[in-house]
């Protein structure tokens, strides 16, 4: 087994494609280059306990797409918040079009032609595109015909294809993103900051976005593109700046650099890969799910003629579901011992409900769940956990941790009835603390002690604690929802290792992830979830992320054959109609 380096090591600057930045960031790219749209110099920003940005220097040429890459937590977002006026740097200067500026709030940045498209869209769902665009910018072109004309003008000029009267709630993710971009352009932005714009898109939508970006560039606008997806960066960027641990470590030319070189520069060490080497799949079924159906509660979409069948909904705090949309529709699958089943899908297509139904946090309307031969459909959460279900939640702050409690109490969470945490109803803090220390040691949780609160750890270390906790009770079946989201690369490799290790010993894993590389690399079997149904399956050995992406939009179903254009076997139902 490879020893995982605990600390990123500096990478020897051997690659010709990179110019390592001089200390003060004097980075003359080209003597005859056009004027710089944005120039950041010696930017330093400290937060309590950490230096988020340290002596950062970036020069963005006008009319280019400039990519800013770095792993999670490297300081990209902080830097952009500084440029957008949301935060003030402790040191350093910002120059826009060669003129030194200082922003106190985003308003001042917007006035200087800086616009930001946030990773999480800030749109009002129940308003139209037009209303959303003019909201807060009423003074620019009014709210009527003039505004509409301006929107169409911008939309046509950059090929955004926006319909001003469409309701936001009817739009897909990619369309919403274009509305966000239009909103920024409407306010007169000359430099656009896009914060991880591709995180929510499937590969086809990413290509469309890149076409839009090229249009913007052709019209003389400047785009700053934040990402950690290297393939995309090489495709679209004109210049690349790499940030590692809060400081700029180099620039690269996308024409000559490779993803591998970029990754090593970004991480400062060799890239881990999620690949699962040998198959450990057995024929013993561990988890069997049949016809699992969950209806949305509260909303009535279609008037039902008969009263829906409901249990005396004693076990749910909410109102009983009444004839709602189906969030999970006849889901069925089997996971064998030693198998990792990956579920691909755009977020919000039923993954959360699937997890909650498997954990017992919501009561399914129909279906049977069998764990290791025992019917657990009606079992409460605690019994399921005791029965061997481990749970790495998708939102660790909401479902996995007590943030203001010490680590050793967090080690008890979810396993309070099990040893070593308690004996016969009475807690055993001494044993729990001792075991917490073991987890901290074995899973490399970086902490000064087990009495600090969970909130004071970084995301990766919090996640390692959760993984360690769940693995400590010898689960038979593990639900891993986005196990490496928001986790630094070092921790990522460790978490992958932990899952692989347990799989070798016969653990069945349900892996849900938005990271397609992780899904393909780690899974033994792949299924695609779309609008609450499992619409397709694929072999991770042959499938490409692009093909998987197609299925995720509902455009393909059935068994996905690799490298076959007519792969989408229509399975004769409504999925095709619903596809965008």
């Amino acid at each position: 087994m490879d020893a995982i380096p605990s600390l990123p090591r500096p990478v020897p600057p051997a690659n010709l494609a990179f110019q390592l930045l001089p200390r003060q960031g004097e980075c003359v790219i080209n003597a005859s280059s056009p004027p710089l749209a944005v120039e950041l110099h010696g930017i330093t920003k400290r937060f309590p306990g950490v230096v988020a940005n340290k002596d950062i220097a970036i020069s963005v040429r006008k009319g280019t797409v400039h990519a800013l890459i770095g792993e999670n937590g490297a300081g990209k977002s902080t830097l952009m918040k500084i440029l957008y006026g949301m935060q003030k740097p402790d040191e350093g200067t910002i120059a826009i079009d060669g003129e030194q500026v200082s922003f106190n709030n985003p308003g001042e940045a917007i006035a200087r032609g800086i616009g930001m498209v946030h990773q999480h869209f800030m749109l009002a769902d129940n308003l139209t595109v037009l209303e959303n665009v003019v909201l807060g910018g009423e003074k620019l072109y009014g709210i009527g015909g003039k505004a509409r004309k301006k929107i169409m003008e911008i939309s046509d000029a950059y090929g955004l294809g926006v319909r001003p009267d469409a309701l936001i709630e009817d739009l897909g993710v990619a369309d919403r993103q274009r509305v966000e971009i239009l909103k920024v352009l409407y306010r007169g932005a000359k430099t656009l900051i896009l914060d991880e714009p591709t995180a929510v898109l499937v590969p086809q939508e990413v290509d469309a976005l890149f076409d839009n970006l090229r249009e913007l560039k052709a019209e003389g606008l400047t785009v700053i593109f934040i990402s950690h997806k290297l393939g995309e960066v090489l495709k679209v960027a004109d210049d690349i700046t790499v940030i590692r641990r809060g400081t700029t470590v180099g620039t690269a030319d996308p024409k000559t650099a490779t993803t591998k070189q970029l990754a090593e520069l970004m991480v400062g060490t060799e890239l881990p890969s999620p690949e699962t080497r040998e198959s450990t799949v057995t024929t013993t079924p561990m988890l069997k799910v049949e016809n699992l159906t969950v209806a949305e509660s509260g909303t009535v979409t279609t008037p039902e003629t008969s009263t829906p069948v409901l249990g005396d909904s004693d076990t749910d705090l909410r109102e009983a579901p009444v004839a709602g949309r189906l969030l999970l529709d006849g889901i069925g699958f089997t996971i064998h011992k030693g198998e990792i089943l990956g579920i691909a899908g755009v977020e919000g297509n039923g993954q959360t409900e699937l997890i909650e139904a498997l954990m017992g946090m919501i009561t399914p309307d129909a279906g049977v769940i069998t764990l290791d031969g025992a019917d657990i459909t009606k079992m409460p959460v605690r019994k399921r956990r005791e029965g061997g279900i481990g749970y790495i939640p998708e939102d660790r702050h909401r479902h996995g941790l007590l943030l203001e409690s010490p680590l050793w109490e967090n080690r008890i969470l979810g396993h309070v009835t099990e040893r070593p945490n308690s004996k016969g109803g009475i807690l055993d803090p001494k044993a729990a603390r001792k075991d917490t220390e073991r987890i901290v040691r074995e899973y490399d949780v970086r902490t000064p002690g087990i009495d600090v609160t969970a909130a004071s750890l970084s995301g990766g270390n919090q996640q390692k604690l959760i993984v360690g906790r769940e693995m400590s009770h010898n689960p038979k079946f593990l639900i891993a929802a986005h196990p490496t989201r928001g986790v630094d690369v070092g921790a990522q490799a460790q978490i992958w290792d932990a899952i692989r290790e347990a799989r070798r010993e016969g653990l069945a894993v349900l892996l849900i992830s938005a990271d397609l590389d992780e899904l393909i690399g780690l899974s033994d079997t792949l299924r695609v979830i779309y609008r609450g149904r499992l619409v397709a399956d694929a072999d991770p050995a042959t499938i490409t992320p692009e093909e998987l992406g197609t299925a995720m939009t509902g455009a393909a179903s059935g068994h996905l054959e690799a490298h076959d254009d007519s792969s989408a076997g229509v399975d004769g139902d409504t999925t095709e109609d619903e596809a965008r």
Binding site: R382, L401, H415, A455
Partner: protein, 371 residues
Amino acid sequence: MKKFDKDRLLLAAAGPVLALVSALVLTMIVLAASGVDPIDPLRIMIEQAGYEDIQVLIINQAGIYFLAALAVAIGFRMNLFNIGVDGQYRLAAMVSAVVGASVSLPGPLHVLLIVLVAMATGAFWSGIAGVLKARRGVSEVVSTIMLNAIATSLIAWLILPKNLGVQPAGSNDLTTGDIPESGWFPALSLSGGDIYGFTFVAFVLGVVYWFVLNRTRFGFDLRASGASESAAQASGVEPKKMIMTAMLISGAVAGLTGMPLLLGESHTYNLSFPLGVGFTGITVALLGRNNPIGIFFSAFLIAFIDKASAGLDTEGYAKEIGTIMQGLIVIAVVVSYELVRRYGIRRQQQKVGEELAAGHALKTDNKEVAA
């Protein structure tokens, strides 16, 4: 990690100290602003506390507040705000007084019966709010406030002579009849007066409260629910069951609040049974940070303000100065605790960051992962 423990202790003390000091300063400002000498009333209050009979009053009152505050604190620990302790306590005192007066049992059994009836009544009354919350999602704040009002009317009706009440000859008062001596709780006689025996039961309950909360599975589930409802649910706590259980226990303890007075002095429920004890309990629980030791001291402090300020009248000052002090303490407590809490979190993150940067992490680099 001794350092973090010491830190936490310091921070835990910082909140109350900050709150009390600022409340004291604010009181003096209020006094000065209303044209009263800001120091003299405080001096008189401290002087009052020197008398033995006042000391006994303070101890007895502190026991009552301690129970009320425990009832509130149980709810607080899982983010339930039981404002209905006052109604639960009065109804429980009334019903148990009626039962106590109507039966005749050998000593300890009689007392036990009264106590159990009081707990059951309190639990029943708070349980209504529990059911509403668990089944219908009704905020317990709203329902318990309303139940307080309903309890007041219900008691007023029940205590009418045509129902359960008794009007002693030659008196305007209405009572529930006298509990026979077998239902009295023995007291500790001092030269300043009698200390209710039930006061000691109250303090023992504080120990039980600590043990249940910190050393049992149930207590862990309860605290987890209070810290993060979603995380608790994912950990296997059934939220509805937890709401019900916490409400019932809180109500049962609230039912005990009237016991020191009923079993130790009045031996009947009458119109002059104190009102608002449950609300003072909220102040005490807040000031004591839901911690039994904290509640113990704050119960004494509030009881001191209560009993010592009563003597201000005779010296030409308004005794409502005590009420103003209590009010200011509530405000100061809420503000200063939140300030200290935020500071604490920030400070710890900073410290952890520093420690890790300095390479003092628990582990060393030569360990392999999860092997």
